[in-house]
């Protein structure tokens, strides 16, 4: 999600995002409010790329955190390492679901979590 202005955010247009927003709009209508769905297009490709970069950077931050946690978990004892591995795998899956413009950190995070899995396997 890209914050454009106060009260104005942008989401990439895909079937899942669109459907979720439609349900939100219906909930608002059910509660007596008003909600309409609008699909926006930026007039400038340069501005569009700027928003894409913001979206990519937002998930890159999350991937970098995953890499750091995966590296740190290598030094944990077996039980803690396995527990952390499960959590990081789930978190990686969650981040990938909202990653529409994968930055280089996406691959680094995947490799870091896989490496942690190998360490856990060797020590099993």
């Amino acid at each position: 999600m890209a914050q454009l202005l106060d009260g104005l955010v942008a989401l990439p247009l895909d079937a899942r995002n669109r459907e979720q927003l439609e349900w939100v709009a219906d909930d608002i209508a059910d509660a007596g409010g008003e909600a309409t769905m609008w699909i926006g297009h930026l007039a400038s490709r340069t501005e569009e790329l700027s928003i894409i970069n913001d979206l990519a950077e937002a998930v890159a931050v999350e991937y970098r955190k995953l890499v750091a946690e995966a590296l740190a978990a290598c030094d944990l004892e077996d039980v803690g390492r396995r527990r952390t591995l499960g959590r990081l795998r789930r978190e990686l899956r969650r981040v990938r679901q909202r990653d529409y413009f994968p930055p280089p950190e996406a691959q680094q995070a995947r490799v870091a979590v896989e490496s942690l899995a190998k360490v856990a396997e060797v020590s099993a």
């Binding site: 079937a15 979720q20 439609e22 349900w23 709009a25 219906d26 909930d27 899956r93 969650r94 679901q97």
Partner: protein, 143 residues
């Protein structure tokens, strides 16, 4: 009865269609539309904006259907948890099957039309129902 839903069916709509044919209306036929305005007058819409049989609050349409049709079968509610997580991924339930089921349905919808997706997914849901039934009876995962 004629039932209407949106084109490009994914997990919630495929699961609902299975539920309708197996537990609500064995003779059901389905039409697929791009907009609510295209729903035939004689059809019952589901999983569409403005339809009674849709998402309500935190529930997906499959859960809404179980409630509206008073389907209390615990196996169906077990499947509802899987469908909910596959559709919404909000971690309301622990359903490790959900991401795999979601990928299967998304992949199917890329290579087949809506009618075919319903036809192919039907035995998948039948199998899931059987598996979860046996799990409930045995109190453990079937071997």
């Amino acid at each position: 009865m004629i039932w209407a839903t949106r084109t490009s069916v994914h997990i919630d709509r495929a699961a609902c269609a299975w539920l309708i044919r197996r537990f609500i209306d064995p003779d059901a036929s389905f039409v697929f539309v791009d907009d609510a305005a295209e729903v035939p007058a004689e059809a019952t819409p589901f999983d569409m904006r403005g339809a009674e049989l849709s998402h309500h609050g935190d529930d997906c349409t499959f859960e809404t259907m179980l409630e509206r049709y008073n389907l209390a079968d615990p196996v169906l509610w077990d499947i509802a948890r899987i469908v909910h997580e596959a559709d919404l991924a909000d971690e309301r339930y622990d359903a490790p099957e959900a991401p795999g089921l979601d990928v299967l349905l998304r992949g199917l919808s890329m290579i087949r039309g809506d009618e075919e997706v319903l036809a192919i997914s039907r035995p998948i849901f039948d199998g899931l129902y059987e598996y979860r039934s046996r799990t409930t009876l045995l109190g453990r995962e079937p071997s």
